[in-house]
């Protein structure tokens, strides 16, 4: 489908839907389904010298500087034990990755080259389609953010043609399309690798592992050189949809099996004792001014205030907050805010990217 036509269709659908609530029910227009998943539905890229931001009404921090994700192609999320995430989320992939020197923080557009594992092809397709309805002509990738490095914009996502009684085959990720190629997500011919149900013991088998267990592959991973760019963004949602950041900043090439690193700078007028409250999908580690203050282990969904740090002191002036998030397949996102000691939300600060 032509991208412009898709936009017109989406706007038209929204207009019709908002204007025609069934049975007069009151529905918050902001909650009506929006099927546009373009990068700019989630993020506004900001300049290095952007004016300071404030936390949102509920205190969530929406301004972050995030580097394009590092490949860590786990095929499942069950490996995220305490020791695993401590190892993987504190592994230094490039110089200055964990710097606590606010004066030397990277700026939006800065690039680094890292050696990472190559992504693995093939979606897990754990349910194997279950009786059909697998769309035909499933869509292409997502557009790259404006000014975020090289590469032609990807084609818009196509609406599936909804075959009602399909064969139920899974979908495969593209086979290593180069960054910037703008290639779409391809539907394989026939049953894809990984599309067949694996380890279905969970449905009456013996002790689970239905989704394939998620154990790292035994074979030595193929290593690649990957150029990653930092992006300062303001999220349009309370949470940071990391999967959309990954897709949008990689022309749809990075989706699952990733490590995200992000930082933000909290500017306080005075010393204040607070707790950092955060949620992430999946595991994450959070640092404030170089101190590890919170760990969210295991395969978990993003929940606001899922974890909360011990009391910490944000000092007058600049404070550096870092987050590292890892996920295998599935949604990846994070959210964070501060609480005062008395349980109220702390919002008396500004947020910058330097």
């Amino acid at each position: 489908m032509n991208k412009n036509f898709k936009l017109i269709l989406a706007v038209g659908m929204a207009a019709v839907l908002v204007g025609c609530g069934s049975n007069g029910s009151k529905i918050d227009p902001s909650r009506v389904a929006n099927r546009n998943v373009e990068y700019d539905q989630y993020f506004t890229e900001i300049k290095a010298d952007a004016a300071p931001a404030k936390p949102d009404e509920k205190g969530f921090i929406r301004r972050w500087t995030i580097i394009e994700p590092i490949n860590k192609p786990n095929s499942g999320n069950t490996v995220f034990t305490d020791s695993y995430i401590l190892t993987e989320l504190t592994k230094e992939y490039f110089k200055g990755q964990f710097t606590n020197d606010i004066k030397s923080l990277p700026k939006t557009g800065d690039e680094v080259i890292v050696e990472t594992e190559a992504p693995r092809a093939g979606g897990r397709g754990g349910f194997g389609g279950f009786g059909g309805g697998a769309p035909q002509g499933a869509g292409a990738g997502q557009a790259r953010p404006q000014g975020a490095g090289a590469g032609a914009p990807g084609a818009g996502q196509a609406r599936p043609q909804g075959a009602p009684q399909g064969a139920g085959a899974g979908q495969a990720r593209p086979q290593g399309a180069p960054q910037g190629a703008g290639a779409g997500q391809a539907r394989p011919q026939g049953a894809p690798q990984g599309g067949a149900p694996q380890g279905m013991g969970g449905f009456g088998g013996f002790g689970g592992g239905m989704m394939g267990g998620g154990a790292p592959a035994a074979a030595a991973p193929q290593m690649i050189k990957d150029t990653l760019t930092w992006h300062s963004v303001d999220s349009k949602l309370f949470n940071i949809k990391l999967i959309r950041f990954a897709l949008g900043s990689s022309n749809g090439q990075k989706r699952y099996g990733l490590i995200f690193n992000a930082f933000t700078v909290i500017n306080c007028e005075q010393d204040v004792v607070v707790r950092l409250a955060a949620g992430s999908n999946a595991s994450s580690i959070w640092w404030v001014n170089g101190e590890k203050v919170l760990t969210l282990q295991a395969d978990r969904r993003m929940v606001a205030d899922d974890g909360m740090s011990k009391r910490i002191t944000l000092k007058k002036g600049k404070n550096l907050v870092r987050a590292a998030v890892i996920n295998g397949p599935g949604m990846s996102d994070m959210c964070a805010r501060f609480y005062n000691e008395d349980g109220t939300i702390f919002k008396n600060y500004t947020i910058t990217n330097n």
């Binding site: 009506v32 495969a172 990984g194 993003m302 959210c335």
Partner: protein
């Protein structure tokens, strides 16, 4: 070891899961049709039960559905909503929700025929939603809604036409939660409750699946949890997660037996007593401070049966035997060291008990042998709970219903229907205790208090304190 022996071992350990061959994943809300109970799991695999406690796939018919069907009865027809997705955990997210009707769930009936499927919702291959895991609700006003979505992005709700099962005219898909699975909605006391499953699915004994909920005055949300957190921010109050020997509660459905008696159906990701397989489970729903919780079936053991009316205990009417000692009232006894007062034992008193039937009464609990009742689950039951034999601990003297809707205890338990008791936890956490049968009548009755000090059988009324009992263990 044979099947019967295996079942017996299981029953002696716990009564938290169904028995038989209750293997399923993502069970639909349980439906009753012509005296049988039905549910279906992902892939359309059926489970059927004639009593609601013993389940198997025999007698059911696989239905042509994809993932995680749900079912609701509207008028005299059954509406099934189900879904399909081409993706899965690491795939795309182009899902569809479809509905279809049937006049009966009995595949042997000449009326058994599913109507043509109607697609009512969909998600595109890469949007923030995966249109699977449908859940149906008919509101008190007769409006029909379906919730759908999974771990990938938003959970949505859209209104359907209860006459056709198709989308209601002008219906909007509304985001109501994030990253749940297996959502559905129920209505209770002025609130709509959105239930969903968090945690890790499908990882056997390591699964962390757990059922959570939020509530709203509107079926389109926002759904807020017990700490004021919106489910669109990931909020949700736990309904049930894990219990000893069972991990990964997921895919909630509610069955209202009658006013005051509610059951939740779900699956355990792993039942340790059944090789870690995924099994159907049914537990009572208890409402506490406006929130649903999974209640408890009574475990085999010795209990005080305490009346909710007065707090007295059910006992067999035998001669009261005083105990010696403990007269140091008002600070008597001086500085002598404390000693243990002996409990009254069964062998101290049983020799003087009548050998025939003995009546029951209700009186102060003093943990005497004639007040201690042993509950032992049997291998048949009612929806979600086994029948129990209820005997005086250490004996085979069994509580029994008599003709005329009264009570007695018989010297030996024989397994007769009037000696079998269903024990259902009620929505307020108390228990209802009902005989399977009463000689000479088909009337459904339960154990009731009559006055503070006597018990009988009478009609159940959730608003009548006389119908409620507490089961205490010390």
């Amino acid at each position: 070891m044979g099947l019967v022996a295996l079942v017996s071992v299981s029953m002696s350990e716990t009564v938290m899961a169904q028995i038989g061959a209750p293997f399923i994943h993502d069970p639909a809300t349980i439906m009753e049709c012509d005296g049988k109970y039905y549910t279906w799991g992902t892939g359309g695999s059926p489970l059927v039960s004639s009593d609601g406690w013993v389940w198997s796939s025999e007698g059911g018919a696989r239905i042509q559905v994809g993932a995680a069907p749900d079912m609701i009865k509207i008028g005299d027809r059954y509406l099934c909503a189900h879904s399909s997705t081409g993706g899965g955990l690491g795939g795309g997210h182009a899902g569809t929700i479809r509905t279809m009707w049937n006049k009966t769930l009995d595949p042997q009936s000449p009326d058994y025929e599913w109507t043509e499927q109607i697609q009512v919702a969909e998600s595109y291959v890469d949007e923030d939603c995966d249109a699977i895991d449908a859940g149906l609700i008919l509101t008190p006003e007769g409006r029909l809604f379906v919730t759908y979505g999974t771990y990938f992005g938003f959970i949505r709700v859209v209104e359907l036409d209860p006459a056709t099962g198709d989308r209601a005219a002008g219906a909007q898909d509304v985001n109501v939660a994030v990253d749940c699975e297996a959502t559905t909605m129920i209505y209770q006391d002025g609130y709509y409750y959105l239930l969903g499953t968090h945690g890790t699915c499908c990882d056997g004994v390591n699964s962390t699946y757990n059922i959570v909920c939020g509530r709203s005055k509107s079926p389109t949300g926002p759904f807020i949890d017990n700490v004021g957190r919106d489910m669109i921010e990931g909020g949700g109050k736990m309904v049930l997660g894990c219990r000893d020997g069972y991990t990964g509660a997921g895919h909630f459905g509610r069955y209202i037996v009658e006013e005051g008696v509610q059951k939740m159906s779900f699956h355990w990701e792993a039942d340790y007593s059944m090789s870690g397989r995924s099994t159907l489970a049914i537990l009572p729903i208890v409402w506490r401070n406006g929130w649903p919780e999974a209640g408890y079936n009574v475990k085999n053991g010795v209990y005080e049966i305490e009346s909710e009316r007065r707090g007295y205990a059910l006992e067999i009417a035998t001669e009261y035997v005083r105990l010696g000692g403990g007269r140091g009232m008002f600070g008597g006894g001086g500085n002598q060291p404390n000693t243990q007062v002996a409990f009254q034992k069964l062998e101290d008193v049983i020799g003087n008990w009548p050998t025939g039937n003995i009546d029951v009464r209700v009186i102060d609990y003093q943990f005497r042998p004639n007040q201690k009742w042993e509950f032992v689950a049997q291998e048949e039951g009612t929806l979600g709970t086994p029948y129990y034999k209820i005997v005086i601990a250490g004996t085979n003297r069994a509580l029994a219903a008599t003709a005329g809707k009264e009570l007695t205890t018989v010297p030996e338990f024989t397994g007769a229907p009037e000696q079998l008791w269903s024990v259902d936890q009620l929505v307020d956490g108390t228990y209802r205790i009902c005989p399977k049968a009463v000689p000479g009548t088909d009337e459904k009755v339960c154990l009731i208090s009559v006055g503070d000090s006597n018990a009988s059988l009478g009609k159940f009324d959730i608003n009548d304190v006389n119908c409620k009992w507490n089961l205490r263990q010390y």
